[in-house]
């Protein structure tokens, strides 16, 4: 399809946004005097700001684009990634873990690990984290540049370098504070930029009730829209209820997941592992001005996080409903097919013999390079023989006959469908904002971990603060350049990137067991933590090598794609990749937990009770919240939020 044409007003809105974020960087530059100002914001920021930055750093564009896609694939059950897979962990972080992160005066999560355990654990965590942030930001920037290229026809390299350049400028000027402040602005930009699109989409499908009704029809015959293989049928509430299809078993929900894997694998292991230990988000809370502000940061963030499904998942559901309504002239976008291939396919249709529809269908599919729906192509050929259609009409017919979906294109296809010039600029700026906040978040976490946990710890200890301040700035530039390198790498070696992400999945899965034992059991030793982590990582790799999904095994019982597991042997098959991931996480957690526990009991403690004060729950004086108004106490706020979260789950039961 053709590129979106932007008008003057659209460019103006983008320019105002870029000017605003650069202005923030420039204004903050004069307050950057020490390495701590630059890398940790000198712990000076109010709660509502750190709270919104906390959520914005997580709301990268991949999340925005990906969650809309999942909304189309799985329906409202996608909200489990929010209501089960985020809120409880955020509350746990606020109430139980923040006191140790903030109270220990550690400047980063790896530094906390060094205080609690030893150098080995810190080194393992900081190296893995540093590499991961670079790849994460590279993957996201590659996605952005590709999107701008396909959508607006911008040059890929130019888009990549300019967007990275803007992030570099404001992070280099104002450091972490700049990243946090712009993240708040980006948060409002994203919410206010996409809300009208959701509104228009809902209005177009006839409101919430009408949308649900068409989704119920879709669920009983998902193959009609290519949402499942032919003959598959779900209960009518598969797209519109969050829990009932899940409780009915993996065969009855489009995710192919059972409730235990969802609650334990996602809701406990993966979710707590991400929200409670990932320095990218925890760093935002650590920048808060005092302990209460730090603890309330994830709680402030939990409020928008709870409401986000309506902004990011509902568009996917709208897209499915629209696709099921023939009069709306909409389909979930197909994978990008080049103009050249479309032209070839049009020629094929023109020359096709209506007496041999099967040959025509095969030839069209070959010309396009994607699967097509036979009956639609046959109908197109037939109607073209009856009355000559224009090239444009044939092109459109072919476009509508493609049987594959590019789910990541869902949100933008809605933007394109509903936004006139002006609103279009706002929505695209919101998309740019989400990419930039993701990149800035990664880079500011990377520069802190590099400067304090790697450079200061192992390469140049005992230098002046000015030295580290300079290093922080220097490594920011390096970090951006490495991200750009990673983006090119992702563009060229898609498969290598999949392997890297797979490996990071292994590294992260067991992490929460280490933190849990470290913070709440004083007997945990450094050796136990270090070997336990290795055991957990090895355990995940082994689990992946021995299991796969049932769709990845051919009729003879051989594994089709080793990337999807089962390359050593197939001990167990899961109904979906998501189920495999959740069970892998659960397994890794248990392995790491058991090993850390056993090895700790077998090894001698190296830290005394006195040294562990402020780092372990039982040895730290309880924080007294009584001086604050009851409504500002983290524990009470946490309970209120948890109740709200339960209510949401019940509402969409």
């Amino acid at each position: 399809m053709s590129h979106i044409q932007l008008g003057g007003i659209d460019y103006a809105i983008m320019a105002i946004y870029v000017a605003a974020i650069l202005g923030i960087g420039w204004t903050l530059a004069r307050y950057m005097k020490t390495s701590s100002d630059f890398l940790t914001s000198a712990r000076s920021i109010p709660t509502w700001v750190t709270g919104l930055a906390f959520i914005s750093a997580n709301l990268g564009a991949l999340e925005l684009v990906g969650m809309a896609g999942s909304g189309a694939k799985y329906g409202i059950a996608t909200s489990h990634f929010y209501w089960v897979g985020a809120i409880p962990a955020m509350i746990f972080l606020a109430v139980f873990m923040m006191p140790f992160y903030y109270g220990s005066k550690a400047r980063s999560v790896p530094e906390y690990l060094k205080m609690r355990f030893d150098e080995r654990v810190r080194a393992l965590n900081s190296v893995a984290f540093a590499v991961m942030t670079i790849f994460a930001s590279g993957i996201s920037m590659n996605a952005l540049a590709k999107l701008l290229n396909q959508l607006l026809g911008w040059n890929y390299h130019m888009a990549l370098w300019i967007c990275s350049g803007v992030v570099l400028l404001y992070v280099l000027k104002g450091g972490l504070t700049s990243a946090i402040y712009t993240e708040v602005l980006q948060f409002f930009m994203i919410v206010l930029g996409f809300a009208p699109v959701v509104y228009l989409g809902l209005k177009d499908v006839g409101g919430w009730g009408a949308m649900n009704q068409s989704l119920q029809t879709v669920a009983t015959n998902p193959a009609a829209l290519n949402l499942a293989e032919a003959g598959k049928s779900y209960g009518p509430n598969a797209w519109t209820s969050a829990w009932q299809p899940l409780l009915a078993g993996p065969q009855n929900n489009p995710m192919g997941v059972d409730w235990f894997a969802m609650v334990f694998g996602l809701g406990f292991v993966l979710s707590f592992g991400y929200w409670c230990t990932n320095f990218l988000v925890v760093q935002r809370a650590m920048a808060a001005k005092n302990m209460t502000a730090a603890r309330n940061t994830p709680l402030v963030a939990a409020v928008p996080k709870m409401i986000f499904p309506f902004l990011v998942i509902v568009p996917g559901m709208i897209a499915v409903a629209l696709t099921s309504m023939p009069d709306k002239d909409y389909r979930i976008p197909p994978p990008i097919v080049s103009q050249e291939n479309y032209t070839k396919a049009v020629e094929v249709v023109k020359k096709a013999n209506p007496a041999e529809p099967a040959a025509a269908v095969a030839a069209v599919a070959e010309a396009l390079g994607v699967k097509v729906r036979g009956e639609k192509v046959a109908a197109l050929v037939a109607s073209n023989t009856k009355t000559k259609l224009s090239d444009e009409q044939i092109h459109k017919g072919i476009y509508n006959s493609i049987a594959e979906y590019d789910y990541d294109g869902v949100i933008l296809s809605l933007v394109k469908k509903y936004c006139p010039p002006g609103l279009l600029g706002l929505a695209l700026t919101a998309l740019l904002a989400s990419f930039m906040s993701g990149m800035a978040g990664n880079v500011t976490a990377f520069n802190t971990v590099w400067t304090y946990d790697l450079y200061q710890a192992y390469f140049a200890p005992g230098k002046s603060d000015n030295h580290y301040f300079w290093m922080g700035k220097f490594i920011t530039v390096v970090g951006i350049l490495l991200s750009i390198g990673a983006a090119y790498f992702a563009a060229m070696y898609n498969n290598a990137m999949d392997i890297i992400q797979l490996v990071f999945g292994f590294v992260n899965a067991p992490l929460f067991a280490t933190f849990l034992l470290g913070m709440f059991w004083k007997r945990t030793t450094g050796t136990g933590a270090f070997l336990g982590l290795f055991g957990g990582i090895g355990g995940s790799a082994l689990f992946h090598a021995l299991t796969t999904t049932s769709s990845n095994v051919d009729a003879a019982g051989r594994v089709i794609n080793g990337m999807k597991g089962g390359y050593l042997a197939v001990v167990s098959q899961f109904p979906s990749e998501m189920a495999q991931n959740f069970w892998l996480a659960a397994f890794a957690f248990v392995a790491c937990f058991a090993l850390t526990l056993g090895i700790s009991l077998a090894t001698r403690r190296t830290k005394t009770d006195e040294e562990l004060k402020g780092l372990v729950y039982s040895l730290t004086p309880k924080i007294v919240d009584h001086e604050q108004a009851w409504y500002a106490r983290p524990a009470i706020l946490g309970v209120v939020l948890l109740v709200c979260c339960v209510i949401l789950n019940v509402m969409f039961w």
């Binding site: 809105i13 903050l28 700001v49 504070t177 209005k203 002006g422 706002l426």
Partner: protein, 67 residues
């Protein structure tokens, strides 16, 4: 730290909101074809403008309080 973030947020949305509302006012009715006949630019522009002004007001009040 030094800068009250409500200023840049407020100012940016005030300008963007005003621009969007103006676009909605000046563009002909054809412009609303995509948006189901609703003048979404004008309506949403006003929302953004109000949000921007509110932020500016809070920033201004914060400054008064600090004095």
């Amino acid at each position: 730290m030094g800068l009250d973030i409500r200023w840049p947020i407020g100012l940016m949305f005030t300008v963007v909101g005003a621009l969007l509302a103006l676009q909605g006012l000046l563009a002909g009715p054809d412009a609303n074809k995509l948006s189901l006949g609703i003048n979404i630019n004008f309506g949403w522009g006003c929302v953004l403008l109000a949000f921007g002004l509110l932020m500016v007001f809070f920033a201004w009040r914060g400054k008064q309080g600090a004095k």
